[in-house]
Homo-oligomer: 425 residues x 2
């Protein structure tokens, strides 16, 4: 049995869906990289009894470490430190060093932002954030909230609880201090080498893969294989202990043999990684002209640091006039075949390539819905085109789902088309 950890994400705003949780996934990835398996992520509101029952459930399920995020702010609905103290059988007490430290941070913040804060209110907020369970280790604040490592009181058998702030930047910057903490190190001491491998396919139906796995079931002992279909990408993730390496090698050979055509990555690199690397390797530049996706592709291409070396820019040509003015789509072409057409997608790709002086141009035009569809050109119809100096790749797709799905899937399809052009198909 491997070492397992669990995460409790607190916050009514997360539970009710007003804010998407980024901490559970991030912590899961960090723990896995550290060789620790994650058992569960529980999201609970800011209610004392719900936070407490979640901690009790996770302790009962035998995890070695619990990590909480959120609930460390100055308002009364922030009650994680208090609940964790009770859970571990410890009293809350004022840490005067921490109080001084937080007060200094708030002074600096207020000065920088020109806030005039009520001194009594600020002192009360600071004091609340400086109340820590007796015997806990305090991790220095990144924002205004300290992190905590809270071991069980003597005689208790609950796992240690690491208490981290909710803002992702604060939590992430505190992570090295968590791993360096002796209580955490001792809880995770028996972590094993847990391998994870990812193979990504584009164009193989999930049911085909299911059949392959079923037929070779007997040879896959010791592998935990999960498949996931997302925006048309089929992702096969295999987790296994080092003792199952031979089984994994057999599996990798099997899948590589069957799906050589559709595997685009077998070393965890995403299509985003591969496009960026290929552009850099060949010293190429790219520019985009987007209609229905209106900026999503260029925003995705510029997500990574250093992307200014290969992304020159893009145009969201939402109106027909802007297709003519910014990427030179002929007016007559739009009137004759319509803005959503293979011809206009190609003209957009060629036009934006020329206008930006880029090596590659991408054109996307489609009907994201929910309105604007016709029997000939229904909602979800998207034309895409990637043009280089001596190559052109066009595709028409019909994406199921709502506006959000159509836009997101179109961007992923465009990424794969760019990759194909970069790889010479």
């Amino acid at each position: 049995m491997s070492t397992r950890a669990a995460v409790v994400v607190t916050g009514t705003e997360v539970l009710t869906g007003r804010v998407a949780d980024r901490n559970g996934p991030w912590l899961a990835e960090q723990l896995r990289a550290y060789g620790v398996d994650i058992a569960q992520v529980v999201v609970v509101g800011d209610r004392r009894e719900d936070v407490l029952s979640s901690l009790e459930f996770l302790a009962a399920s035998g995890v070695d470490l619990i990590i909480t995020s959120g609930g460390l702010g100055p308002t009364a609905d922030d009650l994680t430190a208090e609940v964790v103290a009770a859970f571990q059988g410890r009293e809350l007490e004022l840490d005067t060093d921490l109080e001084t430290h937080i007060a200094a941070i708030i002074d600096r913040l207020s000065a920088g932002r020109g806030w005039r804060l009520d001194p009594d209110a600020t002192a009360a907020a600071t004091r609340k954030q400086a109340m820590v369970p007796a015997g806990a280790s305090v991790l220095a604040p990144v924002g205004t909230a300290a992190g905590l490592v809270v071991p069980p009181a003597d005689g208790r058998t609950t796992p240690p609880v690491v208490v981290l702030p909710g803002p992702p930047r604060e939590l992430q910057n505190m992570w090295p201090a968590v791993l360096a903490d002796p209580t955490v190190q001792s809880a995770l001491a028996k972590r094993a080498d847990l391998m994870q491998s990812t193979i990504r396919l584009w164009g193989t139906p999930e049911s085909e893969l299911a059949a392959l796995l079923r037929n070779h079931d007997a040879h896959l002992d010791g592998l935990e294989i999960t498949t996931c279909l997302r925006d048309g990408e089929l992702e096969v993730v295999t987790r296994y202990g080092t003792s199952a390496q031979a089984a994994y090698d057999r599996f990798a050979a099997l899948i590589s043999g069957e799906y050589a055509e559709t595997i685009y990555s077998s070393d965890a690199r995403t299509v985003d990684d591969l496009v960026a690397e290929a552009l850099l390797a060949d010293n190429l530049t790219i520019a985009t002209a987007e209609s229905c996706t209106a900026g999503l592709l260029v925003a995705r291409l510029t997500e990574r640091p250093g992307s200014s070396r290969y992304v020159l820019g893009g145009v969201a040509t939402y109106s027909n006039e802007s297709k003519e003015a910014f990427v030179d789509v002929p007016h007559e072409l739009i009137t004759s075949v319509g803005a959503v057409s293979a011809e206009v997608a190609e003209a957009m790709a060629r036009g934006v390539r020329t206008r930006f002086g880029a090596d590659l141009g991408v054109g996307i035009t489609g009907i994201a819905g929910p309105d604007g569809g016709t029997p000939e050109k229904p909602v979800g119809l998207v034309h895409l085109c990637v043009a280089s100096a001596d190559d052109i790749l066009g595709r028409a797709v019909h994406v199921p789902g709502g506006r959000r799905d159509v836009r997101a899937r179109s961007v992923t399809i465009a990424m794969h088309m760019i990759l194909r052009v970069l790889r010479g198909h």
Copy 2:
């Protein structure tokens, strides 16, 4: 005590953070609108014992209904139906009507996409997806997976479990059938009128609000107030039963009096809603020129259906040359004050407004990092400008955090600046 439901999201891809869960938040919002409070969202991997222990925990915590998402696919790691059957004390049995129905769906899908599927593999996958717990109600598939409503076997006291597919579109389209199911209706029969109100502020520090709440604590009985700071927006959500209406009215009057200047919404409308409504109401159009945010603002403005009525488009002017070529930023301006400057932001806003013939133009230029910062112009420095025919609003901000934070926060700041210009500041 209100009626409470809980959600179990299954899927190693969600647990490990490779896919963000959209179902937990969506279900929470639907349930709340239906007057049902959500107690917990548990995310577990595709492991029998983890799914089962989550169901047991939620049943023990006294929820009235459990909803699961995911784990209904054709591969062996999809095991929700089987685990829920065991949890409710029911046998899995083949539903031959459902088998025929799913087979017809797969035939139609394969024909449409030109797949040639192995008949035996397809039959096995279909049969697996047609195994349902005896006595469960079957909800017609939207994709290839049916939903299930599984009541406890006679003599058990566990809550009913609703089993839904993982893909958000399938789950969402199945929701009306869930609410119409008699078992679900009976489980939620005692739902109460649960009110929720949202007030949003831009520019008030959370600690100020915390002080206000603390000082008036005695008058807020019966209100569950949660505050959440996100991208600089402070969101105050209050949940209360109808009996606490008077307390809520007092609270609303208090906060409106104190923060009249910074409250931008008190009826749950987001800044996105308000910008869209104001543009439509005044029949105005908008265009964007983005450097560091490279398309994120125009993508956000076009998220909503019908946005083509007011969004003309945008340019991601990632290179300096494109700032000159597409939005007429003078070359000399860039060489004299630099691309990241108030002057260039204003030139971008004015230039894109003119080029698109829009009523409003927005310019954003900044240093998203992690590279490219200097002592004078550090990472996180962003200049923004909104220009209309007779108004101009410029702002320089220093956004903390990483590349993603800088880009996301800048877009939110731009939305608020657009709103201020539309409202005449």
